[in-house]
């Protein structure tokens, strides 16, 4: 495996490395003696033999030999290192070490250490886990680390990020469903209907949607919107607008509005859809399978389930 774009760089690195090492060795040999100096004479100061301006000489205050040997050891170290580890051009090293391999090994090590902590709870039913105070504390820490950025520290959500403390669920609030959601992530898509419905059609559909949850609306518009809703929206949101957990279509008859209940917010959703264009940024729930692993997801799901089932969870 090579990260170089052409074979030239392989040779380039090898040549540079070899020249540097040989250069260092030559320097150590050449600079350990001063040539052209007179041998020490009693009564005179031992100098290196360099003289400037006729009378400025350089004392010879020799370093100990072991100090020189330290330099040699660095050269030996460099050679041993280049044999064992990657660094000598494309040569991967005898040990086959790589930073990604080290990361995987470290992850594995951590997983084996923490696995026993989770194994106890994985064997338990999620509803039981939710009632365990220790598990709840662990779940809370996990939630604050991984989920609170979007869903908030108190799990109350924000615009586009569902509140997890109420009984309203886009994909269902059963423990197993929560596990699936956290494991594989979710992306709820609403198609853009602005072009198909036309400006008046959008206005009428919005009025009808607002009428479903008894928000102030124009009665006539709502009447006109009803058949449009049946044609365009009912497939996902259901004939009565009660939503469909299978595709994550929200219930439109309750008071919970993910993007806001105002006429403007609903109009925007109908016109332009939701989560269509990745370049505009989608509010997707990420898949945590590889990030957290099953043990942590089990605890997390129990914590989240417990948030909206306080009494059942023993709280």
């Amino acid at each position: 495996m090579s990260d170089f774009t052409s074979g030239f760089w392989n040779i380039y690195v090898i040549v540079l490395t070899v020249v540097s090492l040989v250069g260092c060795a030559w320097l150590l040999v050449a600079m350990s003696k001063a040539r052209g100096a007179a041998p020490p004479v009693k009564g005179t100061k031992d100098t290196t033999g360099h003289v400037w301006d006729g009378d400025l000489a350089e004392y010879n205050n020799p370093l100990p030999k072991w100090w020189l040997n330290l330099f040699w050891i660095t050269i030996v170290f460099a050679v041993v290192y280049l044999v064992l580890y990657p660094g000598f051009g494309n040569f991967p090293g005898v040990l086959g070490w790589s930073s990604s391999g080290a990361y995987v090994a470290e992850r594995k090590g951590v997983d084996t250490t923490v696995e026993p902590l989770f194994a106890k709870y994985r064997a338990m039913d999620i509803k039981q886990v939710a009632a365990d105070p220790e598990a709840r504390a662990m779940g809370e820490r996990l939630f604050l680390n991984y989920c609170a950025q979007c869903h908030g520290s108190s799990a109350l959500g924000a615009r586009g990020f569902p509140n997890l403390t109420d009984k309203d669920w886009l994909y269902g609030g059963e423990p197993e469903t929560i596990v699936t959601t956290v494991t594989n992530g979710r992306l709820g898509v609403m198609p853009a209907l602005g072009a198909g419905l036309g400006p008046d059609g959008v206005k009428n559909v919005v009025a009808y949607v607002r009428s479903l949850s008894n928000l102030p609306h124009d009665k006539l518009s709502a009447q006109l919107g009803k058949p449009l809703f049946a044609q365009n929206c009912a497939a996902c949101h259901g004939a009565e607008g009660k939503g469909n957990p299978a595709v994550g279509a929200p219930n439109l008859t309750d008071e919970v509005w993910l993007y806001g209940s105002s006429e403007a917010a609903i109009t925007e959703g109908v016109m332009r859809g939701r989560n269509l264009n990745a370049s505009e940024g989608t509010l997707a729930m990420p898949a945590f399978k590889d990030i957290l692993g099953e043990g942590k997801i089990h605890l997390l799901a129990a914590y989240v389930w417990g948030l909206s089932n306080r009494s059942a969870a023993g709280k």
């Binding site: 040539r35 290196t48 010879n60 370093l63 030999k65 604050l144 609170a148």
Partner: protein
């Protein structure tokens, strides 16, 4: 600067075709045993520092090791005190105190640290003592090293290295025992069950002790130690250094005890070389102050004994400042010059920082609180006309007992804490991240951010409390 540094031409041998080695083979030094006032001081300090070093990890306090730096959980126990990483200021203060103390001691009496308390000196002293007990004093050691290999030499040398290594391994074990409970460490060491890093540091520290105190010795001070070099910039002409009294000693020369030196045209130095033989760095103090001198005063002890035998007054080599030596003045002169700008400055700074550290420790609050506002949602309408803001409260109970805390918020009319079951229980030396919601009526103040305070108070002790600032946002 009105001092002129004269350039003295050095007679230089004419340039030739020869070669000069720029590295030299180290000459082994065989320091001769010495007895006297300063040697006793050094032994006392060796015992004092090592009783503390080897003994401290074995003490218990509150059912745990009294002194333990637990890197894994990042808690640092020193008797009744528990330091968290947030308390790094106390480590800073300790380092500042150590530095100032070094400055002060060095300004007053030279390299006291090097001569009496530095681990390099202390362990070299211990290893030398063992060497003397096994191989004999200076002459015996020189003879043995020069002798050809023999069974006796192998046995004696082997015994010495075995004892050295035993002490070195015990030192490494003690060192690691400051970071991982030492009794447990001992059990695991015996059952060959050490963790990788524990084994590494144990062996590394043992190797460093054995290598530095047994083999490297003065080389560490001469070539490796930065403190050795920078202490000399703290010297001035009034600093006490180990000095040879040239006026009194020269001209040196051997003589009979019956000879009166002055009549024979001699100084008090009998040129016996004792001062050179006892020197652990192998210098001749009679050449004056040198950078190699670690200020151990072994030559003073050695010379005083010789002076006693000769019937001359002691102190041919003594602690003396350069000014006092030049003026031929005595102790009274040095006492008068003890108070000078830098010593007064160092003492004042030392007193100020020490007072600050002690007061800080005495008033140390065992409760630490951080308030972190949620960024995802600034504000939310919890019910018609009621605004909620979300926070995260990081509550740390650094005390070694479980406590429960009440959390309140002030700063807006009707501001209340919700979403937390009060009181909040925290285990001993435990921390919790607490999701917290604050609630206020929407019309309690003008829209916009408002400064508020979140107070955390221990249920059992009103003094254990913290108030942290944050903001509460009322939307438009």
């Amino acid at each position: 600067m009105n001092k002129v540094i004269r350039i003295e031409p050095v007679p230089v041998a004419a340039a030739g075709q020869g070669e000069v080695e720029l590295y030299e083979i180290r000459r082994k030094i065989y320091p001769r045993a010495v007895h006297g006032v300063f040697a006793r001081w050094r032994v006392a300090l060796v015992i004092f520092t090592q009783v503390i070093f080897y003994g401290l990890p074995w003490l218990s306090w509150n059912g745990r090791q009294a002194v333990l730096f637990d890197l894994g959980t990042r808690k640092f126990y020193i008797f009744g005190l528990v330091f968290w990483p947030q308390d790094v200021i106390y480590l800073t203060l300790l380092l500042i105190l150590s530095a100032l103390a070094l400055f002060l001691f060095t300004a007053v009496a030279g390299r006291l640290w090097c001569g009496y308390a530095c681990p390099q000196t202390v362990y070299t002293e211990i290893f030398l003592w063992i060497e003397r007990k096994i191989e004999g004093d200076r002459l015996a050691r020189i003879r043995m090293d020069a002798a050809p290999m023999s069974l006796e030499k192998v046995v004696v040398k082997g015994l010495k290295h075995t004892v050295w290594l035993t002490i070195a391994v015990w030192t490494g074990y003690t060192f690691v025992g400051y970071f991982t409970p030492i009794q447990d460490l001992g059990v695991r060491a015996i059952t060959w069950n050490l963790g990788g890093w524990e084994a590494f540091w144990l062996l590394f520290y043992a190797f460093a002790t054995y290598g530095n105190a047994g083999w490297m010795r003065e080389q560490v001070c001469k070539y490796m130690c930065p403190y050795a070099r920078f202490q000399s910039v703290m010297f001035d002409k009034d600093t006490l250094v180990i000095a040879y009294d040239t006026k009194r000693g020269e001209p040196r020369g051997s003589r009979s005890r019956k000879v009166v030196p002055r009549e024979a045209g001699l100084g008090d130095c009998i040129d016996c070389q004792i001062c050179v033989q006892v020197c652990p760095t192998g210098i001749d103090i009679r050449k004056g102050l040198q950078y190699e001198c670690i200020g151990c005063a072994a030559c003073i002890d050695g010379c005083d004994q010789v002076m006693d035998k000769m019937g001359y007054p002691r102190g041919l080599i003594r602690y003396a400042s350069q000014n006092a030596m030049a003026a031929g003045a005595g102790l009274a002169f040095e006492w008068r010059h003890l108070l000078r700008f830098r010593t007064v400055l160092y003492t004042t700074l030392l007193a100020v920082v020490a007072t600050g550290a002690i007061v800080g420790l005495a008033l140390k609050n065992p409760l630490k609180v951080d308030v972190i506002r949620d960024r995802g949602a600034l504000a939310r309408e919890a019910a018609p006309g009621v605004i909620e803001n979300s926070y995260r409260l990081h509550v740390m109970n650094t005390d070694e007992r479980a406590r429960s805390f009440r959390i309140d918020a002030t700063g807006l009319p009707g501001l209340e804490v919700v979403g937390v079951e009060q009181p909040v229980a925290l285990e001993a030396a435990g921390a919790r991240l607490l999701p917290l919601r604050l609630r206020a009526p929407a019309d309690s103040a003008a829209p916009g951010p408002h400064a508020i305070e979140i107070a955390v108070r221990a249920a059992d002790d009103p003094k254990v409390a913290r108030r942290e600032k944050s903001t509460f946002i009322l939307p438009r």
